[in-house]
Symmetry: C2
């Protein structure tokens, strides 16, 4: 299994370290998407594949395994044919989603500002 995250080891005593760890967890191109898609309730593999636009089967699997590993979601296999697997957020993950709300608010407040800042920066310094 590939997908080992960067070693965000202890850079400072406590605060920043814990924060860096959680950010590292929801980093990567797909984790947030999966977390949000699963927020509504139990969801199947193929449903996730459709919900998270652009994700490949491989990356969905890896992302799910990582989240499962961190105890953020559960994987339930139903022994039926055709196979059926459901993923569901744990309570911990639901709390995480709530904690992320503040961040989402910030993002939506300053979205255009940041886009503008980028444009300016790229204009002044050479990026084209």
């Amino acid at each position: 299994m590939s997908q080992r995250h960067t070693d965000v080891s202890v850079q400072f005593g406590d605060h920043a370290c814990a924060l860096a760890e959680v950010v590292d967890r929801v980093s990567g191109k797909w984790a947030i998407g999966v977390l949000v898609a699963a927020a509504a309730g139990p969801i199947r593999f193929t449903e996730l594949e459709r919900a998270v636009e652009g994700i490949s089967r491989r990356m969905l699997t890896l992302t799910l395994r990582n989240l499962e590993r961190d105890g953020l979601l559960t994987r339930t296999v139903y022994p039926v044919v055709p196979p059926k697997v459901e993923y569901e957020l744990t309570d911990v993950a639901r709390e995480l989603n709530e904690s992320l709300a503040g961040l989402t608010a910030w993002a939506e407040r300053h979205r255009t500002t940041i886009a503008l800042a980028r444009k300016e920066y790229d204009a002044q310094h050479g990026n084209g």
Copy 2:
């Protein structure tokens, strides 16, 4: 200039997308560390280098440029000898730090739980 982040383009309409963008911004091994180190007030390059344990000159520069590009910090050059450059968080970044507080709280609440979940997962599935 290297350091182009992964393309977290529109995966779903609004919410998750904005969130994914901000997470992408504070991703990478060092951004959080720099953000936290600069939270106390204006800080010089070398001070940052010491504050963010383990960071290289190169990565500090790249991280600073990215944050500056996104309008999260300002770079002030004082024309003196020896050179003096100060970095300071913008108001937007300060708001961001506040929004991150909820996340930090979550991280500290569930830190051990998650570490445990990992251990269990790695024990059951083969990771060794």
